[in-house]
Symmetry: C2
Subunit: 263 residues, 2 copies
């Protein structure tokens, strides 16, 4: 296992910013930040006490770890240019396989923090699950060691598992946020303050500690209250998209309930 | 304004149990519990220090408030039988109008706590928004007074607003829980522990304090990452229902984004 001392970061977006700051808070040293956006790159470099680098060719070749915290399409692009001799390189994506890094180095891995990162909102990284993947056992141990310095929730998973996890996260987070947005849209048209829904949203999320989440389902669909469902569809008669979502969700919940009853 | 001293509760389900216990904790007296299910009715009556009553005809006629905390279809049924002279009667439903109580008493209202109630899970009622409606100003003041004894979030809203709010709650809570259930189903098939998704779910829910929720949208749909979307649809190729949901949600998010861009 190698000890990570000097880190080079490629990227200056949300993921790059949150992860690198967490690493620095845990006593690691960010040496260089490379970004195609000089403005955010320079700002992040300054915050980290790192050098800002504009071109891949100018990167320090002697760091212990290179983190590609860039969007999915840029990973392949950078991997086409970056060449490292025996240095560890990782990307942070939920959807890209580890093999995209094949041209860069023999020591490659994935370091995927599973959380939704927003600008300006500090995330307590100690709770963020970090999913590790590596081809070599030594690299895996090094990345595990690094991950456990920033988080108490560290997991070794395969590229296939990571893709499924990312897909599940889209349902659990992106689609969920969209449901909140639809709810906000509906009540705001009727001058109802969103505060009325906030405790419900928090309670629903906090109920999920236990598994068997479908068993927590409440509301008109699971109870097959057709009069209520009809009333809701009537209220949505001029909102085709919301009506389609309502119909599909309601049907899916009822079907799932019937399938479970048969098991 | 009348002072509520003696309360009669009709119903012994989740809503009845949670609400009546909150009232008792705030020093109010639950006189009688009526339920068609003797088992849960007797149990709740015992917990509240109240009498259990089996038939509407046997109910005390001298209480100050009658709460119909039963399911929607039972409200109309009970309202067809219950006759009260000048006593306040309320129901607790999000979807039923106030006028269903017309035959029961001239003093009628709605007392709708907006929260998802589960058996065995105690809810801190002080945060639960309570939505009040009444035909008469005096009844409204009485119900407001009562509501502020159990919650810091009390709102006077109309039947129409309440119906929209209930519809919004279906999106914000029921459909959201279903999204969690889909996520759990997807990862459990791949032996990934649900713990990995829990921090993401909590963070997504805790982000909603601000309004403009659609602006918090992250993920492949809002970024129109078609390669990722294709990968996800491929992973869902044998899960028609989930695939349909994924498609509809993704399209809706993208359309909404384009509409917003035009504004």
């Amino acid at each position: 296992m190698e000890k990570i001392r000097k880190i080079v970061l490629l990227g200056a977006g949300n993921m790059a910013g949150h992860l690198s700051k967490a690493l620095v808070r845990c006593g690691l040293r960010l040496e260089e930040v490379m970004s195609r956006s000089p403005e955010s790159g320079k700002r992040l470099a300054r915050q980290l006490g790192a050098r800002f680098i504009e071109k891949i060719e100018d990167l320090n070749q002697d760091a212990d770890l290179y983190i590609l915290a860039v969007n999915d399409s840029s990973i392949a692009q950078i991997a086409g240019t970056l060449r490292l001799k025996n240095k560890i390189v990782v990307h942070t994506s939920g959807t890209v396989g580890i093999d995209v890094l094949n041209p860069v180095s023999r020591k490659r891995g994935v370091f995927y923090p599973l959380q939704t990162f927003r600008k300006g909102k500090r995330i307590r990284f100690s709770n963020v699950p970090i999913c590790i993947e590596a081809d070599q056992a030594g690299v895996e141990r090094t990345l595990l060691d690094l991950a456990t310095r920033v988080s108490t929730s560290v997991h070794v998973i395969t590229s296939e598992q990571r893709k499924i996890l990312h897909l599940a996260a889209v349902f659990a987070s992106n689609f969920t946020n969209y449901m909140y947005a639809v709810a906000e849209d509906l009540i705001s048209q009727d001058d109802i303050p969103f505060d009325l829904l906030a405790p419900l949203i928090r309670q629903t999320a906090s109920n999920i500690r236990h598994t068997g989440i479908f068993g927590l389902q409440t509301g008109p669909a699971i109870r097959e209250e057709w009069a209520v469902i009809e009333q809701h569809l009537e209220l949505l008669k001029d909102r085709k998209v919301y009506r389609d979502i309502y119909n599909l969700m309601t049907q899916s919940i009822i079907q799932q309930q019937h399938r479970n009853a048969k098991l």
